[in-house]
Amino acid sequence: MPVMNMIQSLNDAHKVLMRRDEDIVVFGEDIGFFGGVFRVTEGLQKEFGKQRAFDAPISENGIVATAVGMAAYGLKPLIEIQFADYIYPGYDQIVSEVAKMRYRTAGEWTMPMVIRTPYGGGIFGGQTHSQSPESLFTHIAGLKVVVPSTPYDAKGLLIAAVEDPDPVIFFEPKRIYNGPFDGHHDRPVTPWAKHPASEVPEGHYTVPLGKAAVVREGSELTVLAYGTMVHVALAAVNEQGIDAEVIDLRTLVPLDIEAIEKSVEKTGRCLIAQEAPRTSGFAAELSALVQERCFYHLEAPVERVTGWDTPYPHSYEWAYFPGPKRMKRALEKVMAD
């Protein structure tokens, strides 16, 4: 089976999709001839032509808006916003148009589009290339929100997202494009090739939306995470020697609530890890759900590990990132009682 990093598997997903469906068009800043700043769209213009893979002006508003018009026509736009931090000029179109079109037209017009965007820190991108704005989208009815954490899942989830009838915001954890990350920034980077999920089947397959994955079984604690934090959490529980069950949510909306309930009911403890700022983050929603639905199984308060409620400061990147120290402290707290 081919071994791929996440960039290669996402690129492969594009090719599989575009070969199968001529209505899929790909556009975004620098994605055409050049193949994208992270190379995810490399070779698409060469294989599929300029009509189906082309550069867009630096206008996230225009990129999303024209994708709306294309979806109204009957195409399936698969667009790239170069960094999640740049998505805000397109936010009105996403929130007021993309998310609500099916509803406001009673199903006459739908928006089967995918908006891919790299998110998260750990690459010294400073305030404007490091944000994790997923909760701004999980809050919007009508959007699905997906965050892969491995090359295998990235390809399968992207194919499922493009084939889904609803609009999907597809957040790509850019820190782990080239290799999983245990949170120890001072250690050498491990390539994906050493990780089993780098084995990516050729051709078409899907990882269903709305289904979480139990990436580590355990009995003492449930850890809920997505994207980069899946790997940080796994490393932390292993380092602390805690028999934790680690759940990679993969899709935030719709959420796999059954997997969460089942695990928390078994372990009686829950820790939630997100890279985004703490206040009103998706971890807050998860915490509320666990408290509402699993309260009588809980042996300790639900604990959150998050980024700080500050912008992402360039030189203090590793003081901001919820790494091993923050994880350790939270694990000790949630396991204490």
Binding site: G62, G107, P254
Partner: protein
């Protein structure tokens, strides 16, 4: 520097001053529109459809006009329409006005929450639609009901939407007049102004990607040209040479803000085309023949891969912004009467009378007939209910169509809502 301690003025520099545009007339003033330059009908040149965009740019500061002082169609822009087409346009415009009057009253009678008239602007949507093909695609804003009427959309369906009643295909989810109909090439209207403008460009790009022959027309008001969406639309249209007509209806008012607040003191809205290097036309929006001719010209251009055209329809919003607005609070009440470009229905009627194709009797008959049609539709629609009666039955339907399938969390909320309604 703190707010309390501004730096001392540098004595040799002028003191800076903020300019906040102010309309020429406020309530109590006598409106005088002599400042508006109204070129003679027929004076504007008509470039070839294949002309370079630059050749159109002198037209962005003039005004394409066809109907002259004597109600005759003159000059190179005269579309030379047959009388039957003109009478159909007149009938549609009269129907739109009758519809607006009935629905305005309906709102005042408490039968619905909201309504928006397009009085004084009827020629724009009706003539534009007449100039396009039936299967071209509109991305309208909220004063283009004439597009639907000109395409023969059932008035009762429009009213069902306005009443959110059992016949409302949008299932009571949208504010009145936010129509949507795919089969009639009328995209869902958004209350977030400007969003539809670049969407029209996207639809046109898709048509071009697919080698289609249909084109798109986007609509925006003078006020919303200030949105970033306007810039995105023109940029993308220019970059990809999209087969789209981008129409700015400059009716001088955005609720209470005059067009100067959107930048009209500096340049015309049509002149925006110059900076993007696309074709631009400025058109007398109260002249049904000029509107038709301009849209026809732009559509031929788009259909033959010669690119987009920005058209400014210069007109005047004769009534309030909506039923929630009272314009007497911010402009003289007699401004509409003083408007130098007249009333579009009266002008088209006078043209048909002048050419011997119409008379006062037939016109009075047409008005009665339009009113009767509107009343009949209203009666039929009201049988299906009016707004105050809605929102009680079929509560579960409000949870559908958020997604293709109802996810667990919305299903749980639906159960709770159904429980509350019992």
């Amino acid at each position: 520097m703190s707010d309390k301690d501004p730096a001392p003025l540098k004595p040799n520099r002028p003191k800076l001053a903020l300019h906040v545009p102010e309309p020429p007339f406020r309530p109590g003033d006598k409106p005088d529109f002599s400042r508006i330059d109204v070129p003679a009908a027929g004076a504007a040149q008509r470039p070839d459809v294949a002309a370079s965009a630059t050749e159109t740019h002198p037209l962005t500061t003039s005004l394409v006009r066809v109907l002259d002082e004597d109600n005759r169609a003159v000059g190179p822009w005269d579309p030379k329409l047959d009388a039957e087409t003109l009478r159909k346009m007149l009938r549609d415009m009269v129907t739109v006005r009758a519809f607006d009057d009935r629905m305005y009253r309906s709102q005042r009678q408490g039968k619905t929450s909201f309504y928006m008239k397009c009085t004084g602007e009827e020629a724009i949507a009706v003539s534009a639609q007449t100039a396009l093909d039936r299967d071209d695609m509109h991305f309208p804003t909220y004063r283009q009901q004439g597009l639907l009427v000109a395409r023969g959309y059932p008035l009762v369906d429009m009213m069902n939407q306005i009443y959110s009643n059992k016949g409302d295909k949008l299932q009571g989810r949208q504010l009145p007049i936010m129509y949507s109909d795919k089969a009639y090439g009328f995209f869902s209207i958004s209350g977030n102004l400007g969003t539809q403008f670049p969407q029209a460009v996207g639809w046109a790009m898709a048509a071009a990607i697919k080698g289609d022959s249909r084109i798109a027309m986007g609509w925006i008001g003078d006020g919303a040209t200030a949105e970033g969406d306007f810039h995105s639309a023109l940029t993308f249209a220019a970059v990809y040479n999209a087969p789209v007509i981008l129409a700015t209806v400059n009716n001088q008012w955005a609720i209470s803000s005059f067009s100067g607040i959107a930048g009209a003191e500096r340049a015309t809205f049509a002149q925006r085309a110059v900076g993007y290097g696309i074709a631009g036309l400025r058109v007398d929006g109260n002249d049904a023949l000029a509107v038709y001719a301009a849209v026809r010209w732009a559509s031929e251009r788009a259909r033959t891969n010669q690119g987009p055209t920005l058209i400014e329809f210069f007109t005047y919003r004769a009534e309030g912004h909506s039923t929630s607005d009272d314009p007497s609070g911010y402009r003289p009440t007699d401004e509409a009467k003083a408007w130098p470009l007249g009333d579009p229905i009266e002008r088209l009627k006078a043209h048909l009378v002048t050419t011997g194709e119409w008379d006062d009797e037939r016109h009075d008959e047409l008005i009665k007939e339009a009113d009767a049609n509107v009343r009949a539709a209203q009666k039929e629609s009201e049988k299906l209910g009016i707004l105050p009666q809605q929102g009680k039955d079929n509560i579960g339907s409000m949870f559908e169509d958020v997604y293709a399938e109802v996810p667990w969390h919305i299903a749980e909320q639906r159960e709770q809502a159904l429980d509350e309604s019992r």
